[in-house]
Amino acid sequence: MIDNPYLLLGLFFGLVLLIFVGIKMKWSKIFVSPETRRKTAIEDILKQLYHVEYSGKTATLNAMAGALKLTHSKLVELIEEMSLLGLIRRSSDTIELSESGRDYALRIIRVHRLWEKYLSEKTGIHKSEWHGLAEKMEHNLSSKEADELYKSLGSPRFDPHGDPIPMSTGEIIESNEETLSHVKPDATVRITHIEDEPDAIYQQIIDQKLHMGQQLKITHSDDQFVKFLSEGEEYKLSTIVASNIGVKELNAEEISEAETIRLSSLGVGEKAKVIGISSECRGANRRRLLDFGFIKGTLIETEMEGPTKEPKAFKIRNTLIALRNDQADLILIEKTS
């Protein structure tokens, strides 16, 4: 056999294909016990109910089945089990969370948001993946583990998207934000929340490089579009996307009048003053930049570009520091002459 190269190659590629298919199919999913899958589904329903009620709507079976991608009959079966467990109250068509159901939902949401916080602070995983990973982790962590995580993260109150993290006692901070789609033209606002669901819209927001804490000056707003200026660039968002961005209107003294641009757009030989580091830049990266002295009021100059245009070297506090463009994107500056 070992001197038949065709057969061997065939076997080899067969094996590779098998492993590849195995990874694609996610082996782990096949071995999940039915109870675990049931528990996950119930927890997802609780969470969905909480979100619906939080936004002041009432939940209907049809809308739920659509949102959770469950068949109608499966959903009915689960709902019945949940009302037996006392997690929900049902009337003819609408569903409501009971007290204990609400507590349960908040526990799940707490783990979800804590885990997103953890991923943002302690790992290098890209923000577009936080939500998906937290969706899995929220079903796996016990309350005790969640409390330990909470402590080790330094008792955070908000997740990286600006959503409040529920306390272990079930308390949750109510936020009183507006959505970007509702802001009137000429107002100046700051982004306080970026909703990470649904995925497609969140991806659009990320692609636009919009980030928490960014200051926007609204120039136009109607039923279809919101236009605004920010960090030296002009943006145009559809209302659907804009409604997933929470903002806080700024009053006169909070508005930074500076012509804010990103450090990445500072050409070689140009000088500027640092306004701050965007809150998108977190954890070790942020602290390292602070240590180098990238803080408010610091003078900075682009000294040179590498042969491949990236990274660029900046002169700051008499030191040459090279930064990549994605880092320089997060440093906000104001040009000086």
Binding site: Y6, P307, T308
Partner: protein
């Protein structure tokens, strides 16, 4: 005491309450505060003449060394000069050490031991086994390292290396790695263990692990001689004599570039799979140029890098020498252990276009790549009962003439495929034990040490397997 613990609890709860009052930008505020103090103190104490001549010189040098036109050519030129000096310059002292340690000292010790009437197996184990392995490692390893490291260190002390990292970061970023990996990679061309230690300059945990795991894809100086010898015998022989030098050199450079390709590929693969979650930060400070202090640099780099690495290699090579001698000399029902092992490995060796002798040599030569070729020759001669070569079972040797070496290898059943695959396998196999040990010391993790050890072997086996099958189909 209860009172105290009550007070402590109160303190902690007060602290957490204050944290929320201050808000999440506390760390920023604190740093701003410290820097504000620093700035005012500096202003009082410092007198700065702007744009001194020396500052402008630094900037001018930077403009040239990182320019789009000259940046890469200068880098390539400097690297070629260093590699050329290392490989060419090492030949002479290497052959001197060789004739001293193997040609003079070895016979002298053999004579001495026979005069003293030392039992044959002690004499064999100590002299033919341990001494020979150590002598090999010193003769092959010391000269190139003693040339390569000081040159490299001079560039480092001058401040050129951070500029190389700056130039290449764009490329490395695409594979998820750090520009400074360019340096640890080049350091690996001298010695992988030294390359792994050098990854300390990468302060991002993820990129550092990538650099450690992929360092093995830089052909170290223990492997350059293998590549050159095999390329000369098998690839150079394919073309007319006048061309053979050029063709075999190209083949060796090709393998080195293949190593660079695997470095990028593996970096890319790891950063998207196993290392996805690790924290990644990028910082690269470009220090001012400093005139290196020539003799001090040479001295410290010899002490610090060359001697330490050499010492570790010797420590690992000595037992390997003993093992090689033992497997060739312990007989079980008429045949040596080596004989059984080679027969056992032969079939798998054939599968991946190598043979049992090569695989056994790679198993026993884990401690040092330098002794692979002498071990292969010794095992081939003993296994195939070739007479008039070598100094006896378990005694490693090398031949001055490439024709003779080729003759032995052909008797051992080697073909062009065996040659090509040996070159590939020499690039893609586990790091030597010195490097494995260093990786463990640097990462303090068995997991990453195992990944760094096993990943290249798997890649080597797969690549050799595919090449072997394709060769058999096409030829």
């Amino acid at each position: 005491m209860d009172n105290k613990s009550g007070q402590i609890d109160e303190l902690i709860s007060q602290a957490s309450e204050l944290r929320w009052k201050i808000g999440s930008d506390y760390h920023d505020k604190l740093t701003e505060g410290i820097y504000a103090d620093a700035a005012s103190i500096t202003q009082r104490a410092e007198i700065r003449k702007d744009n001194s001549a020396s500052y402008n010189f630094d900037r001018m040098l930077d403009k040239v060394l990182t320019s789009r036109t000259f940046g890469f050519p200068i880098m390539g030129l400097i690297l070629s000069i260093i590699l050329w000096l290392t490989i060419q310059g090492a030949n002479y002292p290497s052959s001197m050490l060789d004739s001293l340690l193997l040609g003079t000292v070895y016979p002298f010790l053999k004579d001495l031991s026979s005069q003293l009437g030392i039992v044959w197996w002690i004499d064999g184990l100590l002299l033919d086994g341990i001494y020979m392995a150590v002598a090999w490692v010193i003769a092959v390893m010391l000269p190139p390292m003693a040339i390569f490291f000081p040159l490299f260190t001079l560039l480092e002390d001058f401040g050129y290396l951070p500029r190389v990292a700056f130039n290449l970061d764009g490329l490395f970023k695409k594979s998820g790695a750090h520009g400074k990996q360019a340096l640890t990679m080049s350091m690996g061309w001298g010695c992988n263990a030294a390359g792994v230690v050098a990854t300390r300059i990468i302060d991002s945990p993820r990129e550092r692990l990538i650099a450690i795991i992929t360092n093995n894809f830089s052909l170290c100086n223990g492997r350059w001689p293998t590549q050159i010898l095999i390329a000369t015998i098998f690839i150079g022989a394919l073309v007319p004599a006048g061309w053979s030098g050029l063709v075999s050199t190209t083949a060796v450079i090709g393998i080195a570039f293949l190593g660079i390709f695997f470095t990028f590929f593996t970096s890319w693969f790891l950063s998207r799979t196993m290392l996805k979650g690790e924290v990644s930060t990028f910082t690269l400070e470009l220090p001012p140029y400093r005139p290196p202090r020539f003799w001090k640099t040479i001295y410290t780099s010899l002490i610090d890098r060359t001697i330490i690495v050499l010492w570790r290699a010797i420590v690992f090579a000595a037992p390997a020498g003993a093992v090689i001698w033992l497997i060739s000399n312990i007989d079980i029902s008429g045949h040596s252990i080596a004989y059984y092992s080679i027969n056992f490995l032969d079939e798998f060796g054939f599968l991946i276009g190598l043979n049992g002798v090569i695989l056994l040599a790679y198993v026993v030569a884990i401690p040092a790549n330098e002794i692979v070729i002498p071990t292969v020759l010794m095992l081939t001669v003993a296994h195939f009962g070739i007479s008039n070569f070598g100094a006896g079972d378990g005694v490693m040797f090398d031949l001055d003439s490439e024709t003779q070496t080729a003759e032995i290898l052909q008797t051992g059943g080697w073909t062009l495929l065996t040659g090509i695959n040996l070159m590939l396998f020499s690039l893609l196999h586990n790091p030597c034990s010195t490097t494995i040990f260093t990786i463990y010391k640097e990462t303090k993790s068995w997991k990453w040490t195992s990944v760094a050890t096993i990943l290249p072997i798997i890649m080597g086996i797969v690549v050799c397997f595919l090449v072997a099958q394709l060769y058999r189909i096409l030829m």
